[in-house]
């Protein structure tokens, strides 16, 4: 039953934020702190910080299947269960694939959670600034459109969001990977320190540093601090890492200006042709199935790259027959991810008398990009570059052959040291990589579904060869033995860095958003999730979404005060 409730004044706010994930949480905080009565709409269920982390304090033996996959999971979560962060302890944070269909024109893993906090609860927490190597890349080699901003436009906003989110890392002074506002770095273990030293000795173009990660390595707000349990994807009762639920949404709520409405599926942005701007959004209540309208002066779309794409394409009017703000026909196009799942592992003879403490470090090491960074490192076979993440550790025992006390005793002791590195590479923006609305296949709410048609092409494939070979070469140079390299080639989407479907640009003819993340054609609609990205770089993108969000909120409120929107 669709009952159109006539929404009145009680449904009117100063600002609406669509989505409560990593960028929506920031939009909520910034707009609320600037005094705007802000409505945050989340399509999924409520997840209250700490209280709803029902598995967070469970010991391994308290899980019936000890965190392994069951047939039921494989049946209901065939796609989500491919994700490293999906297991018996976290499956409540991932969508049921059967109930949330999309159409893979080419293989694409759309990994997501529909709940308050979104993927900020299960994210990998790796945080790397972009540099002008990245913001200038499209202009330099002609792929995609030029970014309308450069590092100087975002630098202070990186600092601003890092200071509040809490980012641990080691300053390295690299031009291609600017240092941030860092909390104390986590420590490398013995083998990692050894490998870092060997890399420094053998190479002039690359280094290995400890991962930069959104963990409170010293006490932050309310004494929150990382406890080194490495159970982050269950939600953290210690607020050891940054999430919307634990950090930005509480800050937004503390202002008294926040209204959070879960179970609210935004189906479209309402566009007023006379006013030439958006007046609000239309919501389908996931429980009552009633349609409700909410109104505001400003709308921020932070529904995730593909979620925002859906909302834009589904918001049609006489003025925008192909979707809101889609004069350029770029909405849904230029879909990117990172390509990864390629690298090498090796064993190390030695350090038998060294181990690490009981802490389970929720972080690894990082080898920043070293290809195509300057004239000396230019490649003929591909443009752009890649970085490596990885780590070392000691396994247990010495194989599993044999029976009885001897086997048991061997498995009670640490085994050989091993180390692995895996690569994250840049995916170029291609117009033909796209998400489009399929009106023939509807979901359980009767809403259209997305057709996703995305692939990696020649540049990515050429880069992968180097990613694999260089991984082997680095480990070999560092003294590891029995090195095996691999290329598992997971499909796009699997890296969960999907982005680019409403790109920023200088020219309204070829881009969707301006340099303030504002729709060129609808000035009171801002998009600051991954959809806004004009290129993908090779760094994990979340901190850039956070910085762009804070920056856009600042601009939006200034414009509002000036009466420009």
């Amino acid at each position: 039953m669709n009952l159109n409730v006539k929404a009145g004044q009680e449904n009117t706010y100063d600002a609406i934020v669509v989505g409560s994930g990593i960028s929506g949480g920031w939009a909520a905080k910034e707009l609320c702190e600037k005094g705007l009565k802000t409505l945050v709409l989340e399509r999924g269920n409520d997840v209250q910080h700490v209280k709803d982390y029902t598995t967070a304090m469970m010991a391994p033996w308290e899980f019936k299947h000890r965190l392994q996959f069951t047939n039921e999971m494989k049946e209901n979560y065939p796609i989500q269960s491919r994700c490293y962060a999906f297991d018996e302890s976290s499956k409540q944070f991932w969508v049921n694939d059967k109930e949330n269909p999309y159409n893979e024109i080419k293989p694409f893993n759309w990994l997501r959670g529909y709940h308050v906090g979104g993927r900020s609860l299960m994210w990998g927490r790796q945080v790397y600034r972009w540099s002008d190597l990245d913001f200038g890349a499209n202009a330099r080699d002609g792929h995609g459109v030029d970014w309308p901003i450069r590092y100087k436009d975002i630098e202070s906003w990186y600092t601003y969001v890092e200071a509040f989110a809490g980012v641990s890392g080691q300053a390295e002074g690299l031009p291609q990977l600017p240092d941030g506002q860092f909390l104390p770095p986590m420590e490398m273990n013995c083998l990692e320190k050894h490998v870092a030293a060997r890399i420094k000795e053998k190479y002039t173009d690359r280094i290995m540093t400890i991962g930069r990660v959104a963990h409170a390595t010293k006490a932050m707000q309310n004494g929150r601090a990382c406890q080194y349990r490495n159970l982050c994807h269950r939600g953290c009762p210690f607020t050891g890492y940054f999430s919307s639920n634990g950090v930005t949404l509480p800050a937004a709520a503390a202002t008294g200006n926040l209204t959070l409405r879960p179970d609210s599926i935004v189906t479209e942005v309402i566009y007023d042709e006379k006013k030439g701007k958006a007046t609000g959004v239309r919501v389908l209540d996931a429980h009552t199935l009633q349609t409700v309208e909410y109104y505001a002066n400003i709308v921020f779309l932070n529904a995730s790259t593909l979620g925002t794409t859906f909302v834009l394409l589904n918001s049609t009017s006489n003025r925008f027959p192909n979707g809101l703000g889609n004069d350029s026909e770029q909405v849904g196009h230029n879909l990117m991810d990172h390509h990864f799942g390629v690298g090498a592992d090796g064993e190390f003879d030695g350090f038998e008398d060294q181990y690490y403490s009981s802490g389970r470090r929720p972080n690894g090491i990082y080898i920043p990009r070293f290809r195509n960074t300057n004239a000396a490192t230019m490649r003929k076979d591909f443009v752009r570059g890649f970085g490596y993440q990885g780590g070392a550790g000691r396994g247990r025992g010495n194989g599993t052959e044999g029976i009885g006390a001897e086997l048991k005793e061997s498995l009670q002791e640490p085994g050989k040291w091993t180390m692995g590195i895996g690569s994250w590479g840049e995916h170029l923006p291609y117009y033909e990589n796209k998400a489009t609305l399929n009106k023939n296949k509807k979901d359980k709410y009767g809403l259209p579904t997305l057709d996703i048609d995305c692939e990696f092409k020649e540049n990515e494939l050429a880069m992968r060869k180097d990613m694999q070979e260089s991984a082997r070469e680095i480990l070999d140079a560092a003294g590891l033995k029995n090195i095996t390299s691999y290329d598992d080639m997971p499909p796009p989407g699997h890296c969960i860095h999907e982005m680019g479907t409403a790109r920023m640009g200088k020219d309204p003819k070829t881009s969707v958003l301006n340099k303030w993340n504002q729709l060129h054609a609808v000035k009171n609609v801002f998009i600051t999730d991954g959809a806004c990205m004009a290129s993908s770089a090779c760094q994990n993108p979340s901190i850039t979404y956070m910085a762009l969000t804070a920056r856009a909120c600042d601009y939006a409120v200034q414009e509002l005060k000036k009466g420009n929107i």
């Binding site: 996959f69 039921e72 389970r360």
Partner: protein, 191 residues
Amino acid sequence: MNRRDAIKNVALLLGTAISASTLAALEGCTGSGPRNYALEAPETKSILAEIAETIIPQTNTPGAKAAKVDEFILTMMQDCYEPKDQQILLDGLKKVDEASNKQYKKSFVDLTAEEKTAVLTEIDKERVAYNKRENKQKEDPTHYFQFIKELTLLGYFTSKPGATEALRYVAVPGKFEGCVPYKKGDKAWAM
């Protein structure tokens, strides 16, 4: 009515609020296929308990029986494995008894600890040889003792006695130090 609604109704009857995440966790506790009742037979459990204890015996720390590894293996087989793999396990248990009967004229559970170890040591060699066979095909069945051994080791070292007595488990470490001296005999960290 689907299972989610059923659980919700139970929660309402009991007058308890039940969070969405608990609901999801409750839902996950059922295997989706029909139950394999052969896995639930008492003799299946008793021979598995003896096999697991032989693989991981009680020493100065508890063994597999104390860690209820037999129950774990059966739960995993029931909820996480395909019917064809369940059958491989059930047939495998018969083969263990056949090997015992051939060598000692007794069923496996009636052997002495030394005899059990001898029988399983041979079977483990057979497993290793099978895993190293030439011309491997993707569709080749897994050796039954591979399932039993993997699940015994997983079940034991993730159990409370396994993780906290055979290994060292610290629930909330609070800090991480990258390099600490290690001396032979120190136990590994659980997880």
